[in-house]
Amino acid sequence: MSSSVINRGFPVFKIISHIILLGFSLICILPLILVVSVSLSSEESIMKQGYSLNPEKIDFTAYKFIFADPGQLLTSYGVTIFVCIVGTIFSIIITTMLAYVMSRKDYPYAQKTSLYVFLTMLVSGGLVPWYIIISRVLHMSDTIWVLIAPYLVMPMFVLIMKGFMSDIAPAIIESGKLDGASEYRVFFSIVVPITLPGIVTVSLFILLMYWNDYYLSLMFIQNSEYVSLQFLLWRIMSNADYLRNSVAASMGLLQGVAMPDQSARMAICVLAAGPMMFIFPFANKYFVKGITVGSVKG
């Protein structure tokens, strides 16, 4: 019986490695499936049986709870998508240009510019001055731009970008110039195509940053037209939490309201992370390249 398995030349090693890899991918995938299935379980069954991969009955209460106001949810998706697209485009343009200037060794202030960008990572004005500037000096509260402008230049991303740019041999730029290209021509026709993997990688970082942000909405948005998706979800959850646990509730100020808890959390996960999971595979090609771009190539 077993003699057929222990065949000469049968790739035992291959089987073992496949099992290990299979196990590894299960470890990666199972939590995601669990999140989805818990979001589809009823609160009651979670209380009684704990989390289960296979909910005994599909229950949409959690989604109903979150979709109670579908108009707001759609608006918020719209806001977030707009912010992501516009924000990422503006941000990557500024980041790339800034990083390019910093990477040019023949630019006398390159060092100083780098230091200036780097310093903002170490020291900041603090929350309150930041708030005062945006809300009372620039009067940007309650506009869509307040969700974009504060994150336009992230020093971290500029420095990563600069790393990509520094790999370009000065000779390439020189050669372009010898052929009569202007600075813009050099930048757009030579530098950008060379660093495209880097640009896509950093764009993805920026996109994720805009997608995941709830803090700007938290601080500056009152008007529900400009509430971003993450903030909306955060708000649903934190309000539910608060109503359940607050001192006010224990003092009898709030009336008892039944709300799904665990399942709603998971449903929020699905809604918040879902769209990004579809974007990742498409950018994956560049992403891998982007990570290895700094390393030595043959």
Binding site: V101, Y107, S141, E183, Y242, V247, A248, G252, G256, A258
Partner: protein, 519 residues
Amino acid sequence: MKIRKMPKTLCLLLTVGLLTTAMLSGCGSKSANQDAAKADTPTQASTTDTEGNQTLDPVNLTWYVVGTPQKDQQLVTDEINKILKEKINATLTINTIDWGAYDQKMNVITSSGEPYDLAFTSSWANNYTQNVSKGALLPLDDLLQKYGKHILEQVPEKYWPAAKVNGKTYGVLNYQIYAIGRGLNIKKDLADKYALDTTKIKKYADITPFLGQVKQGEPGITPYLATGNITHMFELYDNEKGMTVDQVQGNSVNPLGIRTDDPAFKVFNLLESPEFMAQAKMFREWYEKGYIRKDAAALKDEKAEAKTGKYVVVTGGYGPGSESGASTDLGYPVVQGKPVPQFVNTGSVIAAMTGINKNSKNPERAMMLLDLLFEDKELYNLVTYGIEGKHYTKVDENTVEIIKDSAYNPNNAWEFGSWFNAYVQKGQPADTWDQMKKANDDSITSPLLGFLYNADGMKRENAQVNAIMNEYLSIIYTGTQDPEKTVPELLKKLKAAGIDALIADAQKQIDEWKAANGK
């Protein structure tokens, strides 16, 4: 050569970019600017005259409240403004900030010196004492005398000391339920089965025989839910003797206490009292007899556990309507027992207040608005329930039914003036507010009402003591270990953490407070 020109071009580009952004943002925030401009219009000239409304200049008041932002807020605000325009020639902007974000946001708004007019402040959200010490709130004593006639008429005098800091009132007390009650939520079917008379429950120990019956007759079900999640100490007094001891820091895990019959208010460690040892032994007995789960101390989420329905007796709040409230909350019908008398302390009175901002341009008008909310039932219910026919329907003169899924149901009536001005909701007894007032009147008022311990000087000791208490109370209140052994150990640890210094500090503060208030 050409490189030299580069920075200039870039500069130009960046400048243009910045300008465009500024322009865009400028366009977007137009309405906000206008609002700000409106609020900034000076009005000092008019406010001296209170009699003729015609002489009041139009102003806009901004009010920050905590809650869930409502879709139809603007609609309701427009209606509110119609009333306000006529009565005090003002308009109102209500800014509702989410529950979870309120603290953080108010902190920033206050620090940035924004000239808002009114804000919800309390012991648990937008902290009142911190606001006072930051100087964010205006002292209101004069304004209250001048414009707050109805407020002073309605909120009983005995509660005002709670809002006083250094002899001055910085917030208007919202009139709501001040009494805190502790309840035992008992599963109704089993209470009926064993013919439990809840009126006989006068102290925690009175439930013990019932727990025994359940243990005997109902296998597979835990009689009492205890968890390791401790938020406050169990009260050390009962209905028979009334409040004999009180905690210096309100209901918390902090063990500093006084005896109420001691006119000197000598501060001591409650854990050293015989009452505490007796209580600890009761929990130990419950544990040993199996009324409490063996792994109780490891349980963290009390609410979630209670909802499973695997327990017969769980602790909760007690007050008017709390029985039906707990039933909805837990998902099964319960009856309630009241093991300790209802009480009022500083924290429970200042649980809901409205403060007037120091930077407010129109504090007089803000006070008039508050007074109006106490006086004008129509206005108050408009704020609370929205527009009749659109957001609620009237069942009878004083009862309303909220229209389901309407775009205005903020459910934060207690944040505006006097809760007792509200219509009752369908399903609530018609005399809900009278019951609540009665609960306020009947409850025991802490002799320390008005005193708030300030831990600033003893932050480290206080934090350490509370951390140790948290750790040990979860053992003691679940009966996991013998209190004869645990309590002395706990006392020793507290000594090492500096509880004596804490006691001395609390004593000093109480003495000062007593001297200042002539107690």
